[in-house]
Symmetry: C2
Subunit: 349 residues, 2 copies
């Protein structure tokens, strides 16, 4: 089976060019000829070589995805959404894991960005250094950033600071004053990160409420065990024990709940910032969460990216004259989802 397009052309009694036109749909071919070519292709089981096509057209029909985590729910869901949308549009997805503080980040950046096997890229939760951002933007291919700190490219972000404030104020509404916040490492130092902004929202809310002295921030590794450990530390001393916790990550929030249960502590009013769509882990634990549909975010990133690619192509066309190099900045909506069991502080009961 298989064979090259010249075989198809020969069998159909046409030229390579006509065969190509018939098969790709670009250019004029009589219906009758097309039919003959398609038949011929089917007969010998012809499948076009995307590599040869790429070399000729310059388009790869592949999108690179950079993600900071492969083993966390949120990132997995976003990836799943992007994968499905890309496949539906006929694109391949090339995966690149780019964890924070990876010693090889530099090499990855170099090898990936210079490798010309992609038409565009999507970054998921990448917090990049100034240098890295510059290199990403210097790349001629379009980029859509989901939830990172990259400006100047297409982006999908949520308002993390508003979220932090809303979360904190929600707990205040329930009567809490001793509200702790579990954040990421170094969030205090790095202001332009997801966790830095959430922290800022928390701090602003606490200050506005005159609760500055009750501020209690603890860094944690973003994982279930990380949350568990942080919570164990946080809840150890009953005298300074908070009555509510606002955690920056789902995994951490769940770790906290489990730690609390294990320590025999009445479950405090919990709050995680990230909601998982589909089957919501957070929901199961009766956490109050922010719904933000990661899968849909992944899909939407694909739409933006492919739209940009189309626009670019159109810009090549003779008639159009617009540069169209504007960048879309999507503020993804979030919704505070309040579960039944969110509790009030004991003193307020």
């Amino acid at each position: 089976m298989s064979g090259a397009i010249s075989d198809v052309a020969a069998l159909a009694g046409v030229s390579k060019a006509t065969a190509s036109r018939a098969l790709t749909g670009r250019g004029y071919v009589s219906a009758e000829t097309r039919e003959r070519v398609v038949q011929a292709a089917a007969t010998i089981g012809y499948v076009a070589s995307p590599i040869a096509a790429s070399l000729s057209t310059g388009r790869t029909l592949a999108i690179g995805v950079l993600t900071s985590f492969l083993n966390r729910w949120y990132f997995g869901e976003v990836l799943e959404g992007a994968e499905g949308a890309l496949r539906a549009r006929g694109y391949d997805l090339t995966l690149h894991h780019l964890p924070p503080d990876s010693p090889e980040r530099d090499r990855i950046f170099d090898s990936y960005l210079t490798n010309k096997r992609f038409d565009g890229m999507i970054s998921i939760g990448i917090e990049a250094s100034q240098d890295e951002i510059a290199r990403l933007l210097a790349n001629p291919r379009p980029l859509v950033s989901i939830g990172g700190n990259i400006r100047g490219a297409h982006s999908i972000n949520i308002d993390d600071q508003a979220l932090g404030r809303e979360a904190t104020e929600h707990l205040m509404t329930l009567g809490h004053t001793r509200i702790a916040h579990i954040t990421g490492h170094d969030a205090e130092l790095q202001t332009d990160t997801v966790h830095g902004r959430r922290l800022a929202g928390y701090l602003a809310a606490m200050e506005d409420a005159g609760l500055t002295s009750a501020v209690h921030v603890l860094p944690a590794v973003h994982s279930l065990p990380g949350g568990y450990e942080a919570a164990a530390q946080l809840l150890r001393d009953s005298r300074i024990r908070p009555t509510a916790v606002f955690a920056s990550t789902d995994e951490v929030a769940i770790g906290i709940i489990i730690a609390a249960r294990r320590l025999g502590i009445t479950v405090p009013a919990e709050l995680s910032v990230i909601g998982i769509d589909g089957h919501s882990y957070a929901e199961m634990f009766a956490l109050t969460t922010f719904e933000q549909e990661p899968r849909a975010q992944g899909r939407h990133a694909v739409e933006i990216l492919l739209q940009d690619l189309e626009d670019e192509q159109r810009a090549q066309a003779p008639d159009s004259g617009e540069p169209g190099s504007t960048v879309s900045e999507v503020r993804w909506p979030t919704r505070l989802v309040i579960r039944q069991t969110t509790t009030r502080p004991e003193s307020a009961e």
Copy 2:
């Protein structure tokens, strides 16, 4: 910057052929010439086009990865291991999400397997139909299957049936007799699947111990909420409540623990079959688990695959004459890791 190899050649004052030899390391080039070429390349910031190279050599330096889940720990860890190993060897990884019962599985199989943009593939947890397996094996490119039901290709598998037996017998050793098993959906019907084999091990152990009448099997969705729901159902009625549970999946096992705690039930002797390496979620919950290092499995699959590719290339060489088309079947070691808090049944205390 950029430019083609002809530019490099011109700048270095050599032919394209020599430039290629100097840059790729294949063929004789004087050290001095090589140096000149490398300098020239650096000067104009030359980066080779992998696409052109692929068209010429037939090798893509890309590996396709088929995975059944993107949002579960085990699969994410395997993927992470494979990704790192592939990158280290200079390969790209093309990701394909192939969930069970996906309506588009057929299309995916077709479009992916005929797309010639990969040198080999790795499947993670793919339970394929006979037809699908036939199509996978018909593909000339090598395949390494991790934890699925694919025979006839390189494979890495654990002894799921032995695991099921070992798990069940461990609980018996602790004195349990009312041991329930939470499995996947339809595991009873499909014998040649991971969960089917684990179920078989459980059933065999129960039978051997004369506990056939105590057999209690419940299907669940493989997720935290799935385990939670199954457990809620399982533990509802205290008269038929098991004293121990053997769950087929980490997520499910953790869901069970949480359900048990929430229902105010003394935590039964828990057992999950899959251990996560690195930070073990299961460990945190004091589950008894099977350690099986998913990351290392992913890395190992890459080694096997690239080894096969090398062998194939060597087989092309004039001297060698071996077919070398044997298939490696790795039985990955597992280790039962018993946590402190695994408990004995109440009656035995």
